[in-house]
């Protein structure tokens, strides 16, 4: 069924976060950069505070790559790459969203309802300053470059 959908071979890049809260915007800004790099070759979505709507945003893609801010105690700018395709990524790394349903919950809900894309990769960028109205802090720049590079590699691997 999924294979017949128009997006069956689609790679979808979804940047998450809150654009008003400093480093929390890192996923959104990364998505923007990927859009510049790839043009129309991939579908890029900036999803501010998506919560449960993430299920719909992923639906129909065969590969979904998510980028979000995380806070696990590592140095700001550290990059996590988690494969959610087969098993849960856990809620420890990803803070609870203000919608009560965060990235890990939305992924698990999609899995429970059997609508999760075959491959789901989640990039988490460790954040520093998330004060309202602040710009991205310096460590985000390097992390952003790294995530973009890795996503380009993921894309090439899919199309090899």
């Amino acid at each position: 069924m999924k294979k017949d959908s128009p997006h069956s071979s689609a790679i979808r890049i979804i940047g998450l976060g809150n654009g008003m809260r400093g480093d929390d915007a890192v996923g959104l800004v990364t998505a923007r950069r990927i859009r510049q790099e790839f043009g129309d070759r991939v579908e890029v979505i900036e999803a501010e505070m998506a919560g449960i709507d993430l299920i719909d945003l992923m639906k129909g893609a065969s590969v979904a790559i998510l980028i979000d801010a995380v806070r696990s105690g590592k140095a700001p700018g550290s990059v996590h790459r988690l494969d959610a395709s087969v098993s849960p990524i856990g809620g420890q790394v990803f803070p609870r969203s203000s919608h009560a349903i965060g990235v890990s919950e939305a992924i698990e809900l999609a899995r429970a309802m059997d609508v999760l894309p075959a491959t789901v990769i989640v990039y988490g960028v460790e954040v520093g300053n998330t004060e309202i109205g602040q710009p991205l802090s310096p460590p985000m720049g390097e992390a952003l470059d790294q995530v973009v590079k890795q996503i380009i590699q993921e894309y090439e691997a899919c199309h090899a």
């Binding site: 709507d53 203000s98 919608h99 919950e105 809900l109 309202i132």
Partner: protein, 438 residues
């Protein structure tokens, strides 16, 4: 009493995280000698930051800024903000623009209520620890809930430009209004959703509810002609009937030591806002269809059990869908997407019905249209004292249970209010501290 005896007679239950509320918060309950002593719902407070953040901003930026206070009820923040500022500028929004504002609010209610009913509160009644666990056993029900929520998203996206943090709401109207054909395009899905909403009311009405009926003071807007969204008097079940401009004379906020959120009281006492309060205070505007669905389940208004909030919320989903369909039916695009604005200095207030209850805004604007002062009283901070009171009343029947079960039961009480801690606060961790002999 010695320190040792004191310690023996004092039992503390701590729950550090309240699950399935919008955001995170902390609850601390102290039980001493088998009696509930203290109940403290602790909350941090971003609206306070926003109040400061708004100072010095141009009035035209306000709708976009306040929309970011909450990802669940951005329209409510925008509506209270634009109506307060329009009061200062002497603008009155009528006709199709007024209808569109009702319609976008319907979208937000549907979206917010469907999420809470299906994913956040229903698991409490069906014995699941989470919406995810419930989805495994009831995929069809959860699919219905998510599609219902999506119907609300569709309204928000069409009118607001996007489903989260809509961008088209502005002082005077909208930056763009839809064509008739665009609204017509929503009709089929909304008709499906109306039937799904009827099923939702029937579904939740059949849940088993604890027998719990505190004596509440309900507070909501009331309008002579319609179920309230953007306009009306503030009324209370105690008989209070005031204009929105009198809000601060009757409702006072006070700081409590354990929380950075302000608690709001009506003449010194806790009160309840939200779907139950609205429904009970606006019975004459409940549609015949909704009344019939309730009657079929042998339910009649007023509903006095806080756990029936899920029924009230479901009835409001149905109302919002019926109202959406009727607003779309009569829609003719307005001549202009927004009324022209003439800036003048002054102070304006507005109160609108956010999904969780009345949301009060006051702004002071100078002659250049710059915000000098902003005050925001969100529904969750109004319900906070009432939630604490409910816990005090509900806990005695739980005290024989182990701490963990008490904590879960307390969470269920809190969730009745669908507290939006991200509105009233930043992160809500639930911490229940209980002291006393087991």
């Amino acid at each position: 009493m010695t320190g040792k005896e004191e310690a023996r007679n004092t039992r503390t239950i701590a729950v550090d995280l309240v699950a399935r509320v919008e955001g995170e918060g902390a609850l601390r309950v102290t039980v001493k000698d088998g009696t509930v002593q203290d109940v403290e719902l602790r909350i941090f407070e971003p609206p306070r930051f926003f109040e400061a953040f708004l100072q010095g901003r141009h009035y035209s930026e306000v709708p976009d800024i306040v929309a970011r206070i909450c990802g669940i009820c951005p329209v409510a923040y925008q509506m209270s903000a634009v109506h307060a500022i329009e009061q200062i500028f002497g603008l009155r929004i009528e006709g199709a623009l007024r209808d569109l504002r009702r319609l976008i609010y319907c979208g937000e209610w549907i979206e917010s209520h469907a999420l809470h009913v299906y994913m956040l509160q229903a698991p409490d009644f069906l014995g699941y620890a989470s919406g995810i666990a419930m989805a495994k056993d009831h995929p069809a029900v959860v699919t219905r809930g998510l599609r219902l929520k999506k119907a609300g998203n569709a309204i928000m996206t069409l009118l607001g430009g996007r489903s989260v943090h809509p961008v088209s709401v502005k002082v005077g109207g909208f930056s763009r209004v839809p064509r008739r054909s665009e609204l017509e395009g929503l009709k089929d899905e909304l008709l499906w959703a109306r039937d799904a909403a009827i099923e939702t009311v029937r579904w939740v009405a059949d849940f088993d509810y604890p027998d719990f009926m505190p004596d509440y003071t309900y507070v909501a807007l009331r309008h002579p002609d319609e179920y309230p969204f953007n306009e009306g008097q503030i009324v209370a079940s105690s008989g209070l009937q005031i204009s929105v401009n009198e809000f601060e004379q009757h409702f006072t906020e006070h700081q409590v030591a354990y929380s950075t959120a302000l608690h709001c009281a009506l003449q010194g006492s806790p009160y309840q806002v939200g779907p139950l309060a609205r429904l009970n205070l606006n019975q004459e505007h409940v549609t015949p269809l909704a009344k019939q669905v309730l009657a079929d389940r042998e339910l009649s208004l007023p509903l006095r059990n806080p756990f029936h909030g899920i029924i009230a919320r479901s009835v409001e989903i149905l109302y919002a869908l019926e109202e959406s369909l009727s607003l779309i039916e009569r829609y003719e695009p307005p001549p202009l997407p927004a009324l022209p604005v003439v800036v003048r200095p002054g102070t304006g207030m507005a109160c609108t019905e956010a999904p969780r209850g009345i949301l009060y805004h006051r702004y002071q604007v100078d002659g250049d249209g710059v915000i000098r002062e902003a005050k925001i009283v969100p529904p969750t901070s109004q319900n906070q004292s009432r939630i604490e009171q409910d816990l005090r009343l509900f806990m005695p029947r739980l005290l024989h249970l182990p701490d963990q079960e008490v904590a879960l039961a307390c969470e269920r009480v809190i969730r009745c209010y669908d507290p939006c801690i991200s509105c009233a606060t930043h992160f809500l961790n639930l911490e229940i501290t209980r002291e006393g002999v087991a």
